[in-house]
Each structure stands twice: as C-alpha cells, then as structure tokens.
C-alpha cells in the first residue's frame, strides 16, 4: 500500500433492503456494506460483497420442462427467495439465473422457441450473469442433442448431448441414483465439497463438450467417463440434480449464490 493511501476503506453505499420472509431473526446480517473495490486497502483485505442470500434476485427459468418445485424448495432452504418465470424481461433483469429442466430435448426446445426465451438466455450468458444449468437445462446449452432424432439446441456451449449406449445390460438407462463427481479442476462452485462426493442423477443423455477445458467434473457410467459438470466464465452447469442431492447439493447451490465469476 502506498504511503498516504486512505487508512480506511471507502464506503460507497449501505445496502438496507428488507428481507421478504426471513423476518427480524437474522435482520442484523442484512445491513451489507459495499466497499469501493478499487481502493487498494480493500483489495488487500479481499473483502467480499456481503450480499445476503435473501436479497439476491434469482430467476428460475420456467419453460414447461418439468417440475420446478424441488429447485425452489432447495433455494428456499438456503433463505433465497426465487422468481419462477417465463418472462424474458425478468430473466434479463435477474442477478442470477437457474436453468433447470427434465424431460426431452425436442419438446424443451419447442417450448423455449414458443416462449421466445432463447435470446434472453443468450443475453444473460453473454453479459456475465451467473448462470446455472441443471440436467436437461445443461444438455440444451450445447449445440445439439441426439434426443428426439437429433435436436438443434441453444448453442451457448460447444458440444452436444449423447445417449448412453451400455454394452453391459446391467447398466440401465436412464441412470438413476447417486454417483461420484470427480473434480477436473478447482472451482468456486466446488468449495467445501469433498472430491468424488455423490450427487443424484436421472438421465439417459449426457453432455459431450467439444472443448475439454469446459469440463469441471467427471462421472463414470455405462462404460463412459462423461462431463457431469461444466463451467466457462459465468456459465456453470450440472448433469446431476444439486437440488435433490442432500446437504452436499445444497452446498453447491449456496456456492452458486455466492459465486462471483471472473470476468
């Protein structure tokens, strides 16, 4: 630090938004002070933007691809209020976006097109909004899926979704159950999660990124080691269901809520 630099961090504003449902019990946490991050002292202190989870504007994209209740309940358990929406304006305005999905790629893309959501999804992923794909949401972030006789998907990540083709009949399709995720590299979303922890999977197709550097975690099933978790910039995506993966899954979702992607 230079001599003569300010001795105290510069306080730019005090955030006093009121929690919507957590009540006075944790009210004392909600006066987050946002410092001027350009201040050298603040950089030295590595101060985090201490936004309470209840204040995050989190949009869960609703495109008629499965049931969103467990995603809402999981974020609710973390004290985060969510907006389930099909409105492109609300998705664009959100601070963080979750893109879940269960079902088939063909009908999912048809619904996305009918709702006019693809441009909004493209905007938020390009603009740097922290973005989390889950299961089918993850698969259709790629260029194409083998499902439904071949489906052109969003093309926000390079690669495609391919079907399990087990040579051993004991490997059932869909894969249903808890399987290990082995970290390919460190990442804030995996903070505090032991390597090779189990997460809950339900799927017949899996992501095959064209760029191996996208892979954040791998899982072995039906004779393949596939990318069960991918991340690039502000976009992260899991083939498994963190919202149904117990305490460890909740930790991943909490990490997502606290994640500040490198820009």
């Amino acid at each position: 630090m230079r001599a003569g630099a300010p001795a105290l961090p510069t306080v730019l504003r005090t955030c006093t938004r009121t929690p919507r449902f957590l009540g006075p019990l944790i009210g004392y946490q909600l006066r987050a002070i946002v410092f001027d991050i350009a201040s050298p002292l603040n950089q030295n202190l590595c101060l985090q933007h201490a936004q309470p989870l209840s204040d995050i504007m989190l949009a869960i994209v609703d495109y008629k691809a499965g049931n969103l209740t467990s995603v809402q309940l999981a974020f609710g358990a973390l004290g985060c209020d969510t907006t389930v929406t099909s409105d492109p304006a609300k998705i664009r305005a959100a601070e963080r976006v979750v893109f879940p999905g269960v079902g088939a790629a063909g009908s999912a893309m048809a619904h996305l097109d009918a709702l006019g959501l693809a441009p909004a999804l493209r905007d938020v992923t390009v603009r740097g909004t922290p973005f989390l794909g889950i299961c089918l949401g993850t698969q259709i972030l790629f260029d194409a899926s083998e499902e439904d006789g071949g489906t052109v998907t969003l093309g926000l990540l390079p690669g495609r979704a391919v079907r399990f083709r087990p040579s051993d009949r004991r490997d059932k399709v869909p894969q249903i159950g808890w399987n290990q995720v082995k970290a390919a590299r460190p990442h804030p979303l995996l903070a505090g999660i032991a390597d090779e922890s189990e997460f809950y999977f339900v799927h017949s197709y899996y992501p095959a990124p064209a760029d191996p550097s996208l892979t954040l975690g791998t899982t072995c099933y039906a004779g393949v080691t596939f990318s069960s978790m991918v991340a690039r910039g502000n976009v992260a995506a899991t083939q498994f269901h963190p919202e149904k993966s117990g305490r460890i899954g909740l930790r991943l979702l909490e990490n997502f809520l606290r994640w500040t992607p490198d820009t």
């Binding site: 209740t69 467990s70 009949r169 399709v173 869909p174 159950g177 808890w178 072995c220 149904k244 993966s245």
Partner: protein, 259 residues
C-alpha cells in the same frame, strides 16, 4: 460408479407411518415427516411414501403430507396410493415429489403409464407390482403372477410380461414387491427380481422381505436389483441405515457412504 440405493418405505394410514405383515395387524410407528427427516439424515438414498388406504377408501392422496415431506428433505422421494388421474399426478409432483408410483391403477388402465410418461417424463413413472409365485405356467410362463389391491386379487398376468409391457409404455423404474416375502424378513424374492431385472432396461427395485444387510447384498449382486426397499427392520430399530451401509460397503457393494 453408480451406487446401489437403499430406500426406506413409509406406509401411511391417517398421516401416521404404520407397518403390518401382509397388510394386516398394522401398528403405529410415527410421524411421516419426522421419519423422513431422520432417514434422510441417516443417509437414505431416496424415500417412498405410500398412502396405503387411499385407494381402498377411494379418496385422493394426502397432498398436505406430500408437501410437508418435500419441504423437510432434500433427497428424491416417490409417492404412491390414491393416484387415479393425470391431475392427481400433477398435484403430487407440484407438491415436490420426484416420482409417482402406480400399481393397481396401471393394471386396470395401462395407458396411465404412457399418459404420465408423456406428460411428466419416464423418470417420474414408477410401476409397482406385487407378484406371487404360481404353478399356472400356461398363463404365467415366468412362474409369477401379478396381484393387485394389496395382494387380494390375482390378475392372471405374467409378472415378467407385465414388466416388459410397462417399460414399453414408459415406466422409468419397476418396483418388484414380492407377496410371498413381504414382511417375513427372510430375504427378498431373488428369482422374480432377477427375472425382471434381466428382462427390462430400466432400473429395478427389490421390495419385500428385507431382514439384514446380506439380504440387500443378494438383491444387488445375485438378483441384479439397482435399489432395495426396506421398511420394518428400520422402523422397529432392528437395524440402522448406517449399519446396513457399512456392512454392504465391507462386502464390496457400492453404496453412498458420505452425505
């Protein structure tokens, strides 16, 4: 490696967990939400909640209870009993359940499997079946016949043929609940479980007869089941999920050991 699932089953009567042998002599075991939380904390991989009298009483499933269970746990659970229509399924899934289990309804109206799979995805549709051994190989070449209505009615349907048909209709998982083994704690009915596990490409869940960890091991390794349902031995404190998992792990069966 995909781990083998251990699934406690909560049979519900009037919002209380009960346990009886072959659907008789029911005893009160506790509150379903409390038990769901306890088993989840102890590391169960999934749960099944059956509203066992809903069908007989011709009333819809207790949605309030489904909602409370969904709020309380962060692992998947299936719901069965009292589901008669797509609307019922939709209500159960929107309340936060992961899967719908159909049994007698699917025998009466097989198209409900296809309708449910189309509306909600195959992964939501679980076929439960209650096979019983039969000597009538003419009608049932596998040697097992499907029963319904809490084992009270025989259907004349071959259990393996029914499993194949349900898979073709869109069932994403098949629970094989042996009538003969149910409640005996003498082990799962390995023969029919294996016949079905070999006949279909979707996961198969062994049910009925769990008495100890070795029975689960046999269901997984001998019968090729992907998951096993346990009830009485957990509910009465005869054993714990931790004891079962440690024994299976020691036997080399892949199970989830950290949660």
């Amino acid at each position: 490696m995909l781990t083998k699932r251990i699934i406690p089953c909560l049979d519900i009567i009037n919002r209380r967990v009960t346990k009886g042998v072959k659907f008789a002599n029911n005893i009160d075991l506790g509150d379903p939400v409390e038990m769901a939380v306890r088993y989840s904390d102890e590391g169960c991989d999934e749960l099944v909640v059956y509203d066992i009298t809903a069908s007989a009483e011709q009333r819809p499933i207790d949605i309030g209870m489904v909602r409370e269970v969904a709020r309380a746990i962060r692992i998947p659970f299936a719901v069965g009993g009292g589901i008669a229509t797509l609307d019922d399924m939709s209500r159960v899934l929107l309340a936060g359940a992961e899967k719908i289990s159909v049994n007698s309804l699917a025998v009466r109206t097989p198209s409900i499997i296809a309708d449910g799979a189309r509306a909600f995805g195959n992964q939501c549709m679980v076929l439960g079946m209650d096979p019983v051994a039969t000597a009538d190989r003419a009608r049932c070449p596998s040697g097992y016949e499907v029963t319904t209505r809490g084992f009270r009615e025989r259907t004349g349907m071959d259990a393996v043929a029914w499993a194949r048909r349900a898979e073709a209709l869109g069932a994403g998982e098949i629970v094989v609940n042996s009538v003969d083994a149910d409640g005996t704690r003498a082990g799962f009915e390995l023969t029919i479980t294996r016949l079905i596990a070999e006949a279909v490409n979707v996961p198969v869940v062994a049910s009925g007869g769990a008495g100890c960890a070795a029975h689960l091991r046999d269901a997984f390794t001998v019968a090729g089941a992907d998951a096993a349902i346990v009830a009485g031995i957990l509910h009465t404190g005869h054993t714990t999920l931790g004891q079962l998992k440690h024994a299976l792990h020691a036997d080399g069966v892949p199970v989830r050991m950290h949660w």
